[in-house]
């Protein structure tokens, strides 16, 4: 047991890749697996900003939505017909959006920051809602083709649930590896220093605001990739992608799993989506149950499921 946990702690990316390689065969049905993977990625992006940099964003719907529209628009409205360009456009648009919105939001700290991120996400929602010619407005962006995956002369159709899952899986594992790289770099260490004590980090000579801005942009880019993948999964971008409920969902997932832990966001996304799936069979008021559970976590288990479990092990943070 001890050697297993030590191995997981030392090679979190491999552990992640292994766990999610068999994941579709563990969950109740396979469609849920891709959803957990994608929302886990979104929560992971949020976690970089909240868990590691200490900035609570209530507007990650913005970057998820920008990613979804970026990918969706390139595939549905242009004649490029390239899956790769579509997949690339999502995170790229989210990155630009994160750079601009981050600039405004980071003019204020603390609690104002949360309110500003929420306000800007809501702004984008209304913009997408009214730009119906481009985004489809209330009906959502439709007509996203399901292109096959093409690389070096290979062509694999992604229409089946499993094929799409493993396509998303490869990209998410790459994103997880990138996050690991970011966290292990000196930059990642400074992020955590800023979370613990921004004034001291500034006193050490770091340009705190610029580093926060970079963290914001990285976080938005991960969220954008999640949005782009979700656009492919659903073959439609509902305008609600940008609505505040999406932001709230990400916050709940991350805190359920454990903010500031490496696997927490994925654990949280899985918990949330399985709960939603099981509860919605019994009652329409499943958000009520999730809301109560979330409140209990904030009050009594602020480290989340994974954070609490790992806190009991003698191996340190995962």
């Amino acid at each position: 047991m001890r050697t297993v946990t030590e191995w997981v702690a030392r090679h979190p990316v491999f552990a992640f890749a292994l766990a999610f390689a068999v994941f579709p065969f563990v969950v109740p049905y396979k469609a849920l697996a891709a959803q957990v993977l994608i929302f886990g990625l979104l929560a992971m992006g949020f976690n970089l900003l909240y868990g590691y940099t200490g900035l609570l964003s209530f507007g990650h719907a913005a970057y998820y939505g920008l990613g979804a529209y970026g990918t969706g628009l390139v595939l549905a409205k242009t004649k490029l017909g390239s899956l790769w360009l579509g997949v690339l456009a999502g995170p790229l648009l989210a990155m630009v959006g994160g750079a601009v919105i981050g600039f405004f939001c980071l003019r204020r700290r603390g609690i104002y920051f949360a309110m500003l991120t929420l306000a800007f996400a809501q702004l984008l929602y209304f913009v997408a809602f009214h730009l119906a010619d481009l985004t489809g407005g209330d009906d959502g962006l439709r007509g996203i083709p399901q292109l096959p995956f093409q690389l070096l002369g290979w062509s694999i159709p992604l229409e089946s649930t499993l094929a799409f899952y493993y396509f998303a899986y490869v990209l998410v594992v790459l994103a997880v590896a990138a996050l690991k790289r970011i966290l292990d770099s000196p930059f990642g260490t400074v992020l955590q220093a800023i979370r613990e004590n921004p004034d001291r980090a500034a006193a050490c000579g770091y340009d705190v605001n610029r580093i926060k801005h970079l963290s914001f942009v990285f976080s938005a880019t991960f969220a954008g990739l999640a949005g782009g993948l979700d656009a492919l999964r659903l073959a439609v971008v509902p305008v609600e992608s940008l609505y505040w409920t999406t932001s709230g969902q990400v916050v709940i997932m991350t805190l359920l799993g454990g903010a500031g832990t490496f696997f927490g966001p994925f654990v949280g996304a899985g918990t949330y989506l399985v709960l939603e799936d099981r509860l919605s069979v019994f009652t329409e008021s499943w958000p009520l149950v999730i809301g109560l559970i979330f409140m209990a976590f904030v009050l009594f288990l602020p480290k989340g499921i994974w954070g609490t479990l790992v806190g009991r092990l003698p191996i340190g943070r995962i």
């Binding site: 603390g110 949360a114 309110m115 800007f120 009214h130 709230g248 009520l288 809301g291 009050l299």
Partner: protein, 291 residues
């Protein structure tokens, strides 16, 4: 530009501004003293409207409902502070925000469970039905009543904060809670009071908005976000800022609804972005408060 066509819009904006002011001033009052951002404020506004509908059906008197509904919401505010928020003192400022966010979900879903997903309508009382001729235009009497009530409440609140001993403690507690404690004041009771009063104001806003906008479970969601914007623009913790920014945002919405309806929801955020660029701490805000 036809002035006769614009003026009603200015008045409609003023009424909306009054609702913003009532919500923002409660948020700001709570924040100024406790550095707690109450995300559930919008849900309490929603409950204010539902309680009014319920009480109106029960007592047949709008006036009783208008008085009792805010008191009920304020009482709920007492319970929220005593049972939930108080457990989080000493933790970071994000935790109360997260907790009240969860609470707002719970309240919205509970409202859907009790009153259904379809909204309820609410008529203004017969004494306030119809329109009044202002000389240059006719305006619904009920809306003038909303403006009058808000002004009376604001004057009362101003007197309470600036002219009473409890108000003195509130102002001192906003500046330096530790010092106030050292002087032997039980701040816990003051926090309870302020949280309850702030929530009561949200309930009043909901009760007043009910006859204009009806009552539905999600009515608080857009209002809380716009109230956040009002508070950011006015300067967090500043009551004067909440009033000025609330009226200003009411006009922004009212006038853009007239000139460019599609931009009405967007303009609020554009104004916020401009204010942030010019004065990051808001119109009346002090830089560095609870950052």
């Amino acid at each position: 530009m036809d002035l006769a066509a614009v003026l009603p819009q200015v008045f409609t904006g003023l009424v909306l501004g009054m609702i913003f002011v009532l919500l923002a001033i409660g948020l700001s009052l709570i924040f100024g003293l406790m550095t707690v951002v109450n995300f559930a404020h919008g849900s309490l506004y929603m409950l204010g409207a539902y309680f009014t509908v319920f009480l109106l059906a029960y007592t047949k008197s709008f006036w009783v409902a208008l008085v009792v509904a805010p008191i009920l919401v304020g009482g709920l505010g007492f319970a929220i502070e005593r049972l939930l928020i108080r457990r989080l003192y000493g933790r970071g400022p994000d935790d109360p925000l997260l907790l009240t966010f969860g609470l707002s979900l719970v309240l919205i879903e509970t409202a859907k469970l009790i009153w259904g997903k379809i909204g309820l309508t609410l008529d203004p009382p017969r004494a306030l039905a119809g329109a009044v001729d202002l000389g240059f235009m006719a305006f619904p009497l009920y809306r003038l009543f909303v403006i009058a009530v808000t002004i009376v409440v604001l004057i009362g609140l101003w007197a309470f904060v600036n002219r009473t001993n409890v108000g003195l403690i509130i102002r001192a507690g906003s500046r330096d809670p530790l010092m106030v404690r050292a002087l032997g004041v039980d701040l816990n009771r003051i926090w309870l009071l302020v949280f309850g009063v702030g929530c009561g104001l949200a309930g009043l806003a909901g009760a007043l908005a009910g006859p204009m906008r009806g009552a539905y479970a999600d009515m608080g969601v857009t209002m809380i976000i716009e109230s956040f914007v009002v508070v950011v623009v006015g300067g967090m913790g500043s009551l004067l800022g909440a009033v000025v920014a609330g009226i200003m945002m009411g006009q922004v919405v009212g006038l853009t609804t007239f000139f460019a309806p599609k931009l009405a929801e967007i303009m609020v955020f554009v104004v916020m972005a401009v204010v942030l660029l010019i004065r990051p701490s808001g119109i009346f805000g002090e830089a560095g408060l609870a950052e």
